[in-house]
């Protein structure tokens, strides 16, 4: 930081404080939006200041590149459907990691000419490696969530061996970068990092992908921190570390919400045993009914709980659902939404989607608050959800979701599933609850079916 004027360092400090306030704001519903804006403000002043003090060449191309990136980011962020938001975050995270890796590669080129200290070289190697992991890993999570590839765990014979060999190669190359720095070693290290990222994410099942995104997010934070050390820039160090630490902690929180450990999520599939019920649709008899029957069930209930899932979001049916709930409310029926922590594709995703449909915040009940109420509930309406009410999480050790806390929908008097088909949920296992005598199935597209339900209830 020796060549940096004091006023610039103070600006960096201000930006760092902004980032801390941003994270703090983002953890409380009331200040979240302000927090985000404060963070954006900090980032902008830091990036503007650099043009005024640093002796930069190529200013015009740099500004053009920023304009291009800004345009792409803006369009992506504005256009994305709220249902596809998790994969967009993954993509943004990946490109951030990629940028960090490229910066470190360039810096390595500069360092080779000088006589650098070992610590800086180690930090450079770390940034190249982990940045590449984050980049390719995020692209794979994107492909999984966007369903460009199967969302089921991908495991091939010898994967643990290839994975182990890649880690050994990465460590050796990193050591070599420190002892005998050369740009080509950095490039090979980046390639190994890309491979590692792919291998790390392939065996992760679809339902666990959001947790991996969070983990890769923390990785990118740490690479940025290491990059800060290499570039002699305190702001990068502080900001990167903040994200690395809070991201790691958030990953743990998310995994805990699913009753899993991070290690189990990453490497569970490698140990085998999570291939249970490998997606076979069974021909066992189920009870299905028409919208009119279900309308009667709902219309004459006293207490109804709605369990929304990703299927609701895919069908864009959240608005119709809210209308149905409003009509039931007008009939004097007490209706709440039970939100599983990982409903949707990311923790908190379902809250975002329902808020978009203007469901009042008070009607959204978190799992721990509502689980005791299922016993006194007449009808549970499960819309496009499956795994979060699957009793296998409690009863079947060995199931991929075993140990995940679930909504106790099975304790209600009646359960109605709105489903497109008998296909298993995201975790790829069958749901015993579908075959329960208390359960009624209503097949069809969620939006369509809810529309029919709505008119049937109104006709009662």
């Amino acid at each position: 930081m020796t060549g940096t004027p004091v006023w610039v360092q103070l600006t960096y400090l201000l930006a760092a404080v902004c980032f801390i306030l941003a994270l703090k704001g983002l953890s409380s519903p009331r200040h979240a939006r302000t927090g985000n804006l404060i963070g954006a403000f900090g980032a902008v002043i830091a990036c503007v200041v650099v043009f005024f003090y640093a002796d930069l060449d190529h200013v015009v191309p740099i500004l053009l590149a920023i304009a291009v990136g800004t345009a792409v980011g803006l369009v992506g962020a504005r256009r994305v459907q709220m249902t596809q938001m998790p994969q967009l975050v993954a993509l943004f995270n990946g490109v951030g990691g990629g940028a960090a890796a490229l910066v470190a590669l360039l810096e390595l080129g500069d360092l080779v000419g000088e006589s650098p200290e070992g610590f800086a070289l180690a930090a450079t190697a770390f940034t190249i490696l982990v940045g590449s992991v984050s980049f390719s890993g995020s692209l794979v999570t994107f492909a999984k969530l966007q369903e460009l590839m199967t969302s089921r765990p991908v495991v091939f014979v010898g994967l643990p061996i290839v994975f182990g060999a890649s880690i050994v190669a990465a460590v050796l190359l990193a050591v070599l970068t420190v002892t005998d720095p050369a740009v080509w070693i950095g490039i090979v290290l980046a390639v190994v990092g890309l491979l590692l990222g792919v291998l790390l994410v392939l065996p992760v099942g679809g339902a666990d992908v959001p947790i991996v995104i969070s983990l890769l997010n923390a990785f990118t934070g740490l690479t940025v921190a290491a990059g800060g050390y290499v570039l002699d820039n305190t702001l990068l160090l502080v900001a990167g570390t903040l994200v690395g630490a809070s991201g790691t902690f958030l990953t743990k929180l998310m995994a805990a919400a699913m009753g899993r450990s991070v290690a189990n999520i990453l490497f569970g599939a490698l140990k085998g045993g999570s291939t249970l019920g490998a997606g076979e649709a069974s021909d066992r008899p189920v009870r299905s009914a028409g919208p009119e029957d279900v309308a009667i069930l709902l219309g004459y209930a006293h207490r109804v709980i709605v369990v929304p899932g990703y299927g609701l979001a895919v069908a864009q049916a959240q608005h119709t659902l809210r209308e149905l709930v409003d009509v039931l409310g007008d009939r004097g029926i007490s209706v709440d939404y039970a939100i599983h922590p990982v409903a949707g594709r990311m923790p908190g995703h379902m809250n975002v989607l329902l808020a978009e449909a203007q469901v009042p915040y008070e009607q959204l009940k978190e799992m721990d608050d509502i689980n005791s109420e299922f016993k006194q509930t007449d009808v549970v309406l499960v819309v496009g959800a499956n795994d979060v009410v699957n009793p296998a999480a409690k009863t079947t050790p060995g199931a991929p979701i075993y140990g995940m806390p679930i909504l106790d929908a099975d304790e209600a008097q009646q359960i109605v599933f709105l489903k497109r088909s008998m296909r298993p949920g995201f975790a790829g296992i069958e749901n015993e609850l579908l075959f329960d005598p208390k359960t009624t199935l209503l097949f069809g597209d969620a939006k369509d079916t809810l529309g029919k339900l709505l008119s049937s209830v109104k006709a009662l």
């Binding site: 020796t2 980032f19 941003a22 994270l23 703090k24 983002l26 953890s27 979240a32 939006r33 985000n36 963070g39 954006a40 980032a43 830091a46 650099v50 640093a54 930069l56 190529h58 740099i62 590149a65 920023i66 291009v68 990136g69 980011g73 803006l74 504005r78 709220m82 998790p86 943004f92 995270n93 490109v95 990629g98 940028a99 490229l102 910066v103 360039l106 500069d110 969070s214 997010n217 990118t220 934070g221 990059g227 570039l231 702001l235 160090l237 900001a239 570390t241 903040l242 994200v243 630490a245 809070s246 902690f249 958030l250 209308e323 007008d330 923790p347 908190g348 809250n351 975002v352 203007q358």
Partner: protein, 106 residues
């Protein structure tokens, strides 16, 4: 200023701050928080600008510019998408699609 120990001190303290500030987050906000943190590491843009500004060869310049583009996508996109998510928690939009919104309340 650039003794490793000073840097280590900043690093360790930042770790504690990072964990402390988000320790009380409710699960409702996990997704926006992750997205916001994601935007913050877009600050690598600063590093990308600095290295690109001192590029010597065309190849270095091109790599640097790619890094600048990627980092700005990360930063700008990250903050904007986070804001979009959070908007939904606060503001109520009166406009609704007429097709799936027949008048419900008599």
């Amino acid at each position: 200023m650039s003794e490793p120990v000073v840097w280590l001190t900043i690093f360790i303290l930042s770790v504690f701050v990072g964990i402390e500030v988000i320790s009380k987050v409710s699960s409702t906000l996990h997704t926006p928080l992750m997205s916001g943190a994601n935007a913050i590491h877009g600050i690598i843009l600063l590093g990308a600008i600095l290295v690109t500004g001192s590029a010597q060869t065309t190849l270095q310049l091109v790599i640097g510019l790619v890094a600048v583009v990627l980092a700005s996508v990360n930063m700008v996109g990250g903050f904007v998408v986070t804001d979009r998510m959070l908007q939904m928690f606060t503001r109520r939009k009166p406009v609704e699609k007429p097709t799936d919104k027949p008048e419900v309340r008599a």
